[in-house]
Symmetry: C2
Amino acid sequence: MTSSQKPVRKRNAEKTQQAILAAAQQTFFEKGYDGAGTRQIADRANVNVALINRYFGSKEGLFQQAILPELNIDFMLEGDMTDFGQRVAEMFAAKTGEKDFDPVIALLRASTSKEAIPMLRQTVEEQIIKPLAARLEGDSTHERASLIITQLTGYDLLNRIVNVQTTSSNGADDMTRLLAKTIQDLVDVV
Amino acid sequence: MTSSQKPVRKRNAEKTQQAILAAAQQTFFEKGYDGAGTRQIADRANVNVALINRYFGSKEGLFQQAILPELNIDFMLEGDMTDFGQRVAEMFAAKTGEKDFDPVIALLRASTSKEAIPMLRQTVEEQIIKPLAARLEGDSTHERASLIITQLTGYDLLNRIVNVQTTSSNGADDMTRLLAKTIQDLVDVV
DNA sequence: GCAATAAGTCAACACCTGATTACATAACAA
DNA sequence: TTGTTATGTAATCAGGTGTTGACTTATTGC
């Protein structure tokens, strides 16, 4: 009876904060901002609810620290822009059916929450559109970057959230090819 | 004294149902599925909450009858397809800042609700993508139609919900032009 | 070992949600 | 006028929300 059956985490503020952040990331990803409850996040992190407020001030504060840093476009900008369309189209096509954490889905699921929108707006602009625009040449880089992002988020929205069958029976490759072309046309100078 | 001074609605099931539907449409549009409460809808319709359940069975039933029929692209398909891109791009650009009921926004706002998604999926497929695909010529019509819809919904999402500044200071016209071109390229045979 | 402090727990708050119930009332037919 | 049915009302249910302050417990420095 003396052996410690239960794996009691030793008191460690930093580690419990990490546990909360990880649980929040996963839960916000799965349920969106409104759909994710603080109790649910706390349970997932094996932590008391009140600690969320202690460490992050509020649900909003937790969201800011758990999700916003993940909203960046770095993974898409690795490599040069000549095959950006193809590369990104394949990335997004490959994500179909994927269940693991994905910042784009997290963004979409949170995007209709009154509290989350103000936080998302600045983040999308600063961490996504501007960096992409900076990699484009020619005119109207901000507009072209925006259209690329709207196309990709729209694609993820219908493909992975609403779960609409975006491809007909034989057309998965067609879809990727068309998406790649659409994106690349916006990258190349018009 | 016999004259009825106060504007009590005479008992009329049909009219109160219409009032509920109208209030539901507006409220779901503004707040999304989860964000719209039954009490709020009932208040707006000047009607008791219980009547929602009496007439529509549940919140879901109300959503189905209030929103789903509005999710169609008929208004985009009026006219021929040679200037579809330009026409639609202007439509969507003009909607910026618009507050009236808009089925695309209603779709987006509802798209993050677990209960709403199954209802949305079939509707988007049957009432939006298929009719558009039917108007396209050439190959991969379903895929091209899907990409057009993903681009447009993504555009509305960032432009009108997250409210990201999709255009730089001087680029509103550029934006419309680029959006028109992107869409039309998907309409024209590839 | 002991006190100080950090870490974590607990119960409750005030408020909201969708749904259901018993009940009152208006409209209409016999 | 009476009885019946359609229509609307108010109270209530069981559960959920984020947040708070007081409490207990573990860890650390002396």
